[in-house]
């Protein structure tokens, strides 16, 4: 048996699968950032369409629903203004997620002491009321779980998409989804029993 063949049998490493889809996404991200830096508003629109649901989900998990759209807009304007500070163009998703989290936290810092108007007011639709109740239950979950659960259940993203867009590892997302769903089911079950 030739040496090379023997070596290949002894060191039989599994063929590493290169995530082609992820690589393509990465290059698209970098290209988008370059175009936006050059002043291309259309590219900014593409970035917005790509990441707005993610930013929306992250903000919705924390902030009253009526203010979510405004904060999402603020997130993207802030990102545009500070685009020069972005070091890794491929990580624009996780950078946007971080801005969204910071903006949501800032919302509570700058919020004036006033009674919050419940989301249900002005909405006769029973579906919306039900949605708000479930959302309220999700918001009581730990920080890491509620964000992932909102992105999965509200925004309809898959686990892989959540990982790619937020910069979390797929394993973390999987764990967050599993534990978050278990806690949510318990909470909703408790509410039903009461």
């Amino acid at each position: 048996m030739p040496d090379s063949e023997l070596t290949s049998q002894v060191f039989a490493f599994p063929a590493r699968e290169f995530p082609a889809a992820a690589a393509a996404t990465v290059s698209i991200q970098a290209e988008l950032v370059d175009r936006i830096s050059a002043g291309d508003e259309e590219a900014f629109g593409e970035l917005y369409r790509m990441y707005a649901p993610m930013a929306h989900g992250i903000v919705l998990a924390r902030v009253p629903r009526n203010d979510v759209d405004d904060i999402v807009q603020e997130v993207f304007i802030s990102a545009y203004e500070n685009l020069a500070t972005l070091k890794n163009k491929d990580a624009v998703g996780s950078w946007l997620a971080m801005i969204a989290r910071n903006r949501a936290a800032e919302y509570f810092r700058r919020a004036r002491p006033m009674d919050e108007i419940p989301d249900e007011i002005g909405q006769d639709d029973a579906e919306r009321t039900e949605a708000n109740e479930i959302l309220a239950a999700i918001r009581t979950l730990p920080e890491a779980y509620k964000e992932t659960i909102v992105l999965r259940l509200v925004e309809g993203m898959t686990g892989q998409e959540i990982a790619e867009q937020t910069g979390l590892t797929p394993d973390s997302v999987r764990v967050n989804l599993h534990r978050g769903m278990r806690l949510l089911r318990d909470k909703l079950g408790i509410e039903v029993k009461r």
Binding site: E41, Y48, I77, A84, L135, V154
Partner: protein
């Protein structure tokens, strides 16, 4: 709970599907991207010049001003040194004689002749000296620009330029002193020093 459905929506899980359907009204509706200010786009473009783009212009300006300063300062200093040398030595020698005759000399006497007017008549100043005022005017005109409103970057570049000029000027002074030797006018003769101590 169907883990596969929770992860990538493959298969089915009635419980999760119910939650998804209930939460659908809260989903991102797809709004128009925010309108961007043009000023920010310009700033983003400018900020991409990088380190060299930012420093190159002030560095060139500093070098240019240093060369102009050198061209003005160097000939002027040489002319004054040539002119004041012999005169000062004669003055100082005369002074020492005076102090010898007195018992208690004045602590420090300023040399009586300081004006270079007669010296100019003794030594013909080369024609290039007449160029100095025009050069100085040019330098002054450069300084008369602060009323222009500067951006932060420009203000920073201006301060760096001033610093570079100050450093260049001090270095030139050192070079000049090294080449010309110490200025005779600022020196006190040894004999005079001894007399003062007594």
């Amino acid at each position: 709970m169907n883990e596969e459905y929770l992860w990538n929506k493959k298969g089915s899980d009635p419980e999760i599907e119910i939650l998804e359907n209930a939460l659908k009204p809260l989903r991102f509706a797809g709004s128009v991207p925010p309108r961007l200010p043009a000023r920010v786009a310009e700033r983003n473009k400018a900020s991409r010049r990088g380190f060299f783009g930012f420093w190159l212009a002030p560095a060139f300006a500093a070098v240019a001003v240093a060369i102009v300063g050198l061209a003005v300062y160097w000939p002027a200093s040489r002319v004054t040194n040539i002119a004041t040398g012999p005169e000062d030595s004669s003055v100082l020698s005369g002074k020492t004689e005076v102090t010898k005759s007195e018992e208690r000399p004045a602590p420090i006497t300023v040399p009586p002749v300081q004006k270079p007017a007669p010296i100019v008549t003794l030594y013909k100043v080369p024609k290039r000296r007449t160029l100095r005022p025009t050069n100085l005017v040019a330098v002054k005109s450069v300084r008369k620009a602060p009323h222009v409103k500067l951006t932060k970057e420009e203000e920073y570049a201006y301060s760096q330029l001033m610093l570079a000029l100050a450093i260049t000027s001090s270095k030139l002074k050192i070079v000049k002193d090294t080449l010309d030797g110490p200025d005779a006018r600022t020196m006190v003769p040894i004999k005079e020093k001894d007399a003062f101590r007594k």
